[in-house]
């Protein structure tokens, strides 16, 4: 990947990476640090990365960076200390999406990861498996379980039938 291709990748995927991370961590500053660290790591190895695989490589790096950071920060899936709630664009969304985002935040980390990659980025199971270092069957199980949990949460709030 050349410098130009790297900069194009920044232009194309920085927002997606940031959204993926910030939805996870619910912390903008922490997410910005993770994104910055992700791109720094990718730039270090840019010569050995194919431009066509830049997005996948970025998400993989971001995911691992996020897991490491969350372990260090001892942040888990909780609603405590969320600094994006006040000005999060989701606050302007419909009630279902807002409630759904709350439900996503309650999911276990790995389920949250696969569901965000699936819905936001449109990755297939195989691609998600590469990013998260899972196998395809595991990804499928986590997604199905996440859907079930989300549906039950929405039903509990009587937003859906």
């Amino acid at each position: 990947m050349t410098r130009k291709e790297y900069n194009e990748a920044v232009e194309l995927y920085a927002d997606n990476i940031y959204r993926f991370v910030v939805k996870h961590t619910q912390n903008r500053m922490l997410s910005e640090d993770i994104v910055q660290e992700t791109f720094a790591k990718v730039w270090e190895k840019h010569e050995s990365i194919e431009a066509s695989k830049a997005k996948s490589y970025l998400f993989t790096t971001a995911y691992h960076q996020m897991v490491d950071t969350l372990k260090k920060e001892k942040r888990t899936t909780s609603f405590e200390g969320e600094d994006v709630r006040q000005d999060d664009p989701l606050s302007h969304l419909f009630d279902v999406q807002k409630t759904l985002q709350e439900a996503v935040n309650k999911l276990p980390e790995i389920q949250k990861t696969v569901i965000l990659l699936r819905d936001y980025e449109g990755y297939n199971y195989n691609e998600i498996a590469e990013i998260t270092a899972l196998n395809e069957s595991q990804v499928k199980v986590y997604i199905f379980r996440a859907r079930q949990t989300l549906k039950n949460y929405l039903k509990s709030t009587e937003l859906v039938a």
Binding site: Y6, E32, Q36, S137, R147, L159, A161
Partner: protein
């Protein structure tokens, strides 16, 4: 049992192992399988089952199966509904589910509920995107730097030489440099040499004066004023006369008669433009080739050049000339460090 657990079916055993539902024999066999395949071990931190039921639900068991389902029922309805929105059902399963949906309105509501679980991508912008980009850094080739440096050095050298041979004697810094350069040629005896101005060759109506000043000429009156009080010099106290190098072995030999520099008349307390030599002085013989070739108002630049080159290159530089006589050949000799060039002309006939 050990042989029954393999790479294609271990997941169902894994889930049962995590739930603790394996028999003792199965548990031992699965642990041996995991020990043989450590890459398949799942980080148990990732398997947070807080929200999950205590037992594996039918949906997950269905997902572990490698065969298509042959019927739709209340137990596997979630599997079909999620499979539909995930678009992972086989064609056969799709057909079965469509048939079931047509006959069961409740199944349609369930499918609609699952459709609501799809997250809609919101626009989130990273605030410092430009900071992530790598800026282009243009490296100047070292050859270009070397070329510019060399050119600057040559220009500086020529500039220095130009100062040494031009009309810069008015500049006190240059005069000081001349004094420094010529200091090597000074000897204690030469300092004590008293110069006699050739006043006889100066016409009476010529107001130009002969001057050989010392570095602190402002404090000491000019030599000629002490030795020749008859010399008429106007405004000598206010005048700042250019400093002439005290001695120059190429110009003035120990036994050669002194030919003082003749300065033009100073008007309105202004510095003289350039020193000139009297005709008689021009006619005076010189031992130096360069001084003869340089014209009447030119100093011998050879010592300045050689000293400057020597200083710049930090290499000893020597340059000598000699006129051909009836007994000896003439020519020149130049030595820069270990490099020597000499040329001898024929004897004078």
């Amino acid at each position: 049992m050990k042989k029954l657990i393999h790479i294609d079916n271990y997941e169902s055993f894994y889930l049962d192992y995590l739930e603790g539902t394996l028999s003792e024999e199965e548990r031992i066999a699965f642990e041996e399988f995991l020990a043989a395949h450590p890459e398949l071990r799942v980080d148990e931190e990732l398997l947070i089952l807080d929200e999950a039921p205590e037992k594996l639900d039918p949906l997950q068991k269905l997902l572990l199966k490698k065969e298509d389902l042959t019927f739709v029922s209340g137990e596997n309805l979630d599997y079909f509904a999620i499979g539909r929105i995930e678009q992972v059902l086989s064609a056969k399963e799709d057909t079965l589910f469509d048939t079931y949906l047509a006959a069961n309105p409740e199944a349609q509501k369930l499918l609609a509920a699952y459709r609501e679980t799809r997250l809609q991508a919101s626009v989130v912008s990273y605030p410092n995107k430009e900071d992530l980009k790598e800026k282009e850094i243009r490296l100047v080739p070292w050859k270009l730097i070397a070329g510019i440096t060399s050119a600057a050095a040559v220009l500086l050298l020529f500039f220095q030489l130009g100062l040494g041979t031009g009309t810069t004697e008015k500049d006190p810094t240059v005069m000081a440099q001349h004094r420094k350069l010529n200091s090597n040629t000074h000897s204690a005896d030469k300092k004590s040499v008293e110069l006699e101005p050739a006043t006889n060759s100066i016409p009476e109506n010529n107001t130009v004066v002969a001057q050989r000043s010392k570095p602190d000429s402002n404090q000491n009156p000019p030599i000629h004023s002490e030795r020749d009080p008859k010399q008429k010099v106007k405004n000598t106290e206010d005048r700042i006369l250019p400093v002439q190098p005290e001695t120059d072995k190429n110009l003035i030999g120990e036994k050669s008669p002194h030919h003082p520099t003749i300065l033009p008349q100073v008007k309105d307390n202004k510095q003289p433009v350039a020193p000139t030599l009297d005709e008689e002085v021009n006619k005076a013989p010189s031992k130096d080739l360069a001084s003869n070739a340089g014209g009447s108002n030119m100093k011998n630049p050879i010592p300045i050049i050689t000293n400057t080159i020597s200083e710049k290159t930090k290499t000893p530089v020597d340059f000598k000339t000699g006129k051909a006589t009836e007994t000896e050949k003439g020519g020149f000799f130049i030595k820069i460090g270990k490099f020597e060039v000499s040329h001898k002309s024929s004897k004078r006939k």
